[in-house]
């Protein structure tokens, strides 16, 4: 009898044990989701447009897990910027070509007088040429970053293009310093003569003499030159500022800031290039007697009379002479 009781307890115990095991097997309805309160990727992207966390790496920038804004920036840089640059630069070149073919070089109507007057001092010319030379190299190396791959790479091959781009990048980075110094000096040197006034309004109303044979009066700098001045100063400040931000990556801003800096830098730069093409045109091919102002520093009196009459009168009043100081060599040769 006792033996039967023990046996019965054993069987009951075993059944109970098996029952516990059977019911403890997880079934779908009883599952727990331990990460139910965790963040989801799409939720973070929608709220913050980035996913960021903590890293144990000393470079804390690696804490950004995902920033899809990079794809928007890629779209801008590859597509939008190339359109803006292409239209601005090619459009300007086309306009200049059409203007030259229709109007030709703006000639001195009264011819050269043989007498000249100083227009720019040696220091002014030095600053201008330093800024201008740097600008040319900066423009070419900068345009190479945007347009080099589709236009130049297929022509010269990968190795040559990389080598050229590497040196272009060095030139771009380091010539930015003399360029910035030049822009600051230009700003200080010529601020006095570049404040807009009523004469500029009249000059603009008469189209600056671009069409026909009008010669609206102007002081030392006409409205067109003042526009160039302010484009150089403001545009130069913009490209320099964003350029240094790009050269010191992440010193001032996070990745969105760097992308924005690149956008501003490139857009201002291509528009700057387009404006300078016009400036270069009018200073060389576009107008007789203009280049020597920045070349030798002196201009012909007739040129000054036709294009900057008020400035000539000011200079004459200042020196107290009726005519400008004649060049000894010129009178001797005649």
């Amino acid at each position: 009898m006792a033996f039967f009781g023990k046996y019965l307890r054993l069987v009951l115990g075993a059944c109970a044990f098996l029952l516990i095991i059977a019911t403890s097997t997880p079934s779908g309805a009883q599952q727990v989701n331990p990460t139910a309160s965790s963040v989801k990727e799409q939720q973070l992207l929608q709220e913050l447009n980035r996913v960021q966390g903590r890293v144990s790496i000393p470079d804390q920038r690696s804490g950004v897990l995902e920033q899809p804004a990079g794809r928007d920036w890629r779209e801008f840089r590859n597509v939008t910027l190339r359109w803006i640059g292409g239209i601005a630069i090619l459009g300007m070149l086309a306009m200049l070509a059409i203007f030259y073919l229709s109007r030709g070089m703006v000639r001195l109507e009264s011819g050269r007088s043989g007498r000249s007057i100083v227009r720019f001092t040696a220091f002014e010319r030095f600053v201008h040429w330093m800024t201008a030379t740097c600008f040319i190299i900066l423009a070419i190396s900068g345009l190479n970053i945007t347009f080099g791959r589709p236009l130049l790479l297929p022509l010269i091959g990968f190795e040559a293009f990389s080598e050229w781009s590497q040196w272009a990048k060095y030139a771009h980075n380091y010539l930015s310093f003399p360029f910035t110094i030049g822009v600051v000096l230009i700003f200080l040197m010529w601020i006095v003569g570049n404040i807009p006034n009523k004469v500029d309004v009249d000059w603009l109303k008469r189209g600056g003499g671009l069409v026909g044979h009008d010669h609206p009066p102007a002081y030392r700098f006409n409205a067109g030159q003042k526009a160039i001045y302010w484009i150089v100063v403001i545009g130069g400040a913009a490209v320099a500022g964003t350029g240094y931000e790009l050269m010191f990556p992440f010193y001032l801003s996070g990745i969105e800031g760097m992308q924005l800096a690149e956008i501003v830098h490139s857009v201002v730069a291509v528009l700057f290039v387009a404006a300078m093409l016009a400036h270069i045109y009018i200073g060389t091919v576009g107008m007789e007697g203009a280049f020597e102002a920045m070349g030798s520093g002196t201009v012909d009196i007739n040129w000054a009379k036709e294009h900057h009459r008020l400035w000539l009168e000011e200079e004459n009043a200042r020196t107290g002479a009726n005519d400008a100081r004649p060049q000894p060599a010129a009178t001797a040769a005649e």
């Binding site: 000393p58 040696a122 010319r125 040429w129 330093m130 003399p178 110094i181």
Partner: protein
């Protein structure tokens, strides 16, 4: 400091040769047959421009730009660190 006025009539072939910097270029120029002294050709006018003050201000400007750029190289390379130094602490080098 003003140079001589750029008038074609005052120039002769000998005067064009005086500037050492343009001597070689001048010989090339002679060979091209563009040089017609005394005539108001575009090539003549260009040559006068090149010979006079443009050279000085422009050359000085290029040299100054190169010097400033070289200074920038020196200074900035000293300021900047390779990442193994920039992102290392006394506790962590990863």
């Amino acid at each position: 400091m003003r140079g001589p006025a750029p008038t074609t009539r005052a120039r002769s072939r000998r005067q064009l040769q005086q500037n050492k910097a343009t001597k070689l270029a001048f010989h090339v120029y002679l060979r091209t047959g563009l040089c017609i002294p005394g005539r108001r050709t575009f090539a003549n006018r260009l040559f006068q421009l090149v010979e006079v003050n443009v050279m000085k201000a422009f050359l000085l400007a290029c040299i100054a730009a190169a010097i400033v750029a070289a200074l920038a190289v020196g200074i900035l390379n000293r300021v900047q660190q390779p990442v193994e130094q920039a992102f290392a602490t006394s506790a962590v080098r990863l």
